[in-house]
């Protein structure tokens, strides 16, 4: 198909504003998927995605659409991940499009993510078509919301589409707008091949499948390919399009979206954002915007029962096939024994990985509190990377500890500037600038240590602004800090997996909150259990879990025997799933207590 008849676009929406339902209707109306085969939210194929209502992997699907002018168009809908942990992946998916449908709930109106998405789309230079969805709701205010959107985008209110994806109202209009209002791709079909990789997945039969947007030239199956960032060369096994199943086509022309079964063995050789070109006639310059993925957050994952160690390793290996951002290496802890130190893009990514390991692989895991990677400069001038507080060298040989700092941007309604500033300042944030986007909306720019960010900043920000603020961040560099290791002692024994690195000024305050929180989550045991926080051998905080006084069934007669035995069996099985430290049982929640210090 020539480029004038191609449209590449994505759907952008705040969570629950109906993005997936609208995608389903578009697929239905273009007969890409007949209504009777429709499962809800076709594009979110992972069970977790449907449950969390958040797209984790990008996906793409080609639709054929005959417009009112009788011409047939090729529409490529690219679905994007919906979480700030994946903002780089989102930016690459957007770079594969020319336009975006900005979907807003007719009852809720514009929200934080609507704006954050809009800025991303504008940065990617996309043409925007605003869509008000859910106009069927009794509480819908389509006129008002359309006006807000029109003002925001500088368009006429009548240019805002009004639909109900649920009821199927106005879907035809949407397709019409995609064809008439979004521009066609403008690549050079005769230039050397340049195709943008915006996602990939691992297929057990075809190896790594790269999701690509051909910008210039033609991608054909016969020609060997070069990945410009990694330098990997490969013979493609198959080239095709998503309908949404993989459908071989042998070639992809300039402007088209599809896939290449690369024959590569791991997704780590196939980075999102990399440029595919011909190994024989390579392009001189890669496409702009590539950034290697770098895990930002680290945590130990340990099997509750040691026998699961090998299963955990093989499960991590399998997940890694599909997840280039996940890294892991073996780690040993005195308390938790054998496990893996894993690196993630952020806390959400960590949560997803942990849940998939537990659900899809049936593993019982203990996750330690997430940490960032510190740089330790020793007296001898050596720089050591430390991703686990337990690995911090002897303070005597430490010259300096450096921690990663981020540049963060908070988008918030002006009304919430106060609470946002307070929250960020308390977390060692350094104020930089305030910019007014309009009279109501501001962007606050700060620098802050990553370690302060990973502990729940996103959720805290949401609750400080009634869900309105959104957050974007980029890595800024390593800076020295007055950092110390805080040990946590349970029943007088230090538990290495509970150790954390904190700023000296915060040690007392954090220690007190932490031991109090742990006291809440460690169940009462047969004897009282002191919990202490210590810095450099000095106790800075202490709390005590009082002893269990009473746990016995008052009655046990003939009719009770089976039921009570089963109850005890469950109690015993439940205990097996908890880690035992000497005689103390420490549940998973205690390891993550540090994440909840701000709760009261």
């Amino acid at each position: 198909m020539d480029q004038t008849h191609i449209r590449n676009f994505c759907l952008l929406a705040h969570i629950d504003h109906g993005k997936s339902t609208l995608a389903d209707r578009l697929l239905e109306l273009t007969d890409t998927i007949p209504a009777r085969q429709m499962t809800e939210q076709v594009l979110d194929s992972m069970e977790l995605e449907r449950e969390k209502g958040v797209t984790i992997k990008a996906s793409a699907v080609r639709m054929r659409y005959t417009a009112t002018d009788g011409e047939e168009y090729e529409l490529n809908l690219i679905d994007t991940p919906g979480h700030v942990d994946f903002s780089y992946e989102v930016s690459r998916a957007l770079a594969a499009c020319e336009g975006a449908l900005l979907v807003v709930d007719a009852a809720q109106g514009i929200e934080a993510q609507t704006l954050a998405n809009l800025y991303l789309a504008l940065e990617a230079d996309l043409e925007i078509v605003p869509v008000v969805n859910k106009i069927d709701l009794a509480s819908a205010r389509p006129d008002e919301v359309a006006l807000e959107l029109a003002e925001l985008l500088g368009v006429e209110p009548h240019e805002v589409l009004r639909v109900s994806a649920k009821e199927g109202w106005g879907i035809e209009q949407v397709l019409k707008a995609v064809v008439t209002r979004l521009p066609p791709p403008r690549g050079d079909p005769n230039a050397p091949l340049r195709a943008l990789i915006f996602d990939s997945h691992y297929d057990p039969y075809k190896g790594v499948v790269a999701y690509v947007r051909v910008v210039d030239g033609v991608l054909v199956q016969e020609e060997p390919l070069l990945l410009m960032a990694t330098g990997a060369e490969t013979e493609p096994i198959e080239v095709g399009i998503f309908t949404p199943e993989m459908n071989p086509t042998e070639r992809l022309n300039a402007g088209e979206v599809g896939y290449v079964a690369t024959g590569l063995k791991t997704v780590r050789e196939c980075h999102v954002g990399d440029t595919l070109t011909s190994a024989l006639h390579p392009a001189s310059e890669p496409l702009p915007g590539y950034r290697p993925v770098k895990p930002m957050v680290f945590a130990g994952l340990y099997p509750v029962v040691n026998e699961d160690y090998n299963s955990l390793r093989s499960a991590l290996e399998k997940l890694q096939l599909n997840d280039a951002a996940l890294v892991f290496e073996p780690e040993t802890s005195q308390a938790l024994q054998f496990g893996f130190r894993c690196g993630f893009l952020g806390l959400f990514h960590m949560e997803i990985v942990q849940e998939r390991l537990e659900r899809e692989y049936g593993l019982d895991l203990i996750a330690t509190a997430p940490s960032v990677a510190y740089q330790v400069v020793t007296r001898s001038g050596e720089i050591v990377e430390v991703a686990s507080p337990a690995d911090l060298p002897d303070p005597a040989i430490i010259e300096e500890i450096r921690e990663p700092w981020m540049r963060i941007q908070v988008f918030t309604p002006a009304d919430y500037i106060g609470p946002v500033m307070e929250l960020i300042t308390r977390r060692r944030g350094i104020y930089r600038t305030t910019e007014y986007l309009d009279s109501q909306r501001v962007v606050l720019t700060y620098e802050m240590p990553l370690s302060e960010m990973i502990v729940d900043l996103h959720d805290r920000l949401k609750s400080a602004t009634r869900g309105y603020a959104s957050l974007d961040y980029t890595f800024d560099g390593y800076r020295p800090g007055d950092l110390v290791r805080m040990d946590i002692l349970v029943n007088k024994q230090p538990v290495d997996a509970l150790a954390l690195i904190v700023h000296r000024d915060q040690a007392y305050e954090k220690g007190s909150r932490l031991v109090r929180k742990m006291k809440e989550v460690i169940p009462r045991q047969l004897f009282k259990v002191p919990i202490q926080a210590a810095v450099g051998g000095r106790i800075v905080a202490r709390a005590t879990v009082s002893a269990l006084r009473k746990d016995v069934l008052a009655k046990c007669y003939g009719g009770d025997v089976t039921r009570k035995r089963k109850l005890l069996e469950r109690q015993k099985a439940g205990k097996k799933r908890l880690k035992q430290f000497g005689r103390v049982v420490i549940p998973q929640d205690a390891f993550l207590a540090v994440l909840r210090l701000d709760e009261d």
């Binding site: 046990c556 005890l568 069996e569």
Partner: protein, 415 residues
Amino acid sequence: MTIHKPAALYMHIPFCRSRCAYCDFNTYAGLEELIPAYVTAVCREIEVAGERWGRLTVPTIYFGGGTPSLLPLDLVRELFQVARSRFYVSDDAEITLEANPGTVTVGYLRGLRSLGVNRLSLGVQSAHDDELRLLGRIHTWAEAVEAVEWAREAGFANLNLDLIFGLPAQTLARWHQTLEAALRLSPEHLSLYCLSVEEGTPLERRIASGALPAADEDLAAEMYELAEEMLAEAGYFHYEISNWAKANPKSQIPNYKPQKWWPEPETRSLKHETLSEEVSPYVCRHNLTYWRNEPWLGVGAGAHSWLGGRRWANVRHPREYIAACGTSCQLVPHQEVEEIDRRKEMGETMMLGLRLAEGVRDTRFQARFGRGLEQVFGAELAELQDLGLLEWNGRVTRLTARGRLVGNYVFAHFV
């Protein structure tokens, strides 16, 4: 099939005037018109069981409920007649009937006594009328006292009182008063149950909604310890976690010692391995059958049985039960049947036996399973002994005073 095999006989009478706020047993209010048909069905089940199991020797019979004292005397007689015609009911059989104050008269109690009932268990629960109302009981404390007097008048020389502690908002002082009031009635036996708030009961809903405070577990532990102290002083033998029996005057109950619940070996009057019956003639022999994990046959709606290596339960609803017994089928349809293998039986023997002050004896365990306690549970016994929760001297094992309060923790090691 062995003939004359012993088995305790339990008869379930699931009817009540009204259901108590905490009750999650298989009981029904407002179905009293089913009683005659129900008794006919139970008789039929006894006949069928007699055919299935042969003439069992029955050392104890227990009418439990529900409220068995709602049964008219002629129906109680009918049940006895059938039981005696199918089983060997021992001459000295212990025959208990549970009764609720407010449902009995002195004449009725005399009738029971003359039919052979020799142990009466009265659900008096509390000496405070506001607590009785909270529990949804249909009687007052005055009525409970009256029922006790009538029972004595009718000739009952073996009387149990049920009490409940650990109620929402109950204080230690109020519990003390209840205990004192109960002791003034000089019952031969006391069952003290810590209230457990069961799912789906009105009490649970009221606590969940915030209308009532949840009971304080630590306070309940103190109440338990208070009871242990007071009852030991009053000459009661604490022979099971929730049960006390007036000690044999000749057996000289030792002084209360907070760390031991069994007479110290040095008191000499008692051997370390004495059985419960030797310390008190008033221990409930029927219930000892359960705790020693010996066989029993349960008849009636929802009743459980433990015979021939399996445990089963009858259909729960009295209507279904009546219908099932009325058809020509040979056995009442069982709702759940569980085969108990060796390992499970050992675990249950520990779970039940450790509830008793007499504990689990190695000789009995060996005789039953062919392997000794040390061999099967050596590691568990050592660990729990080390934690101060069990005594274990190579011949007998039992809970310590601390262990009694955290029995579940101990039992979970054996199941």
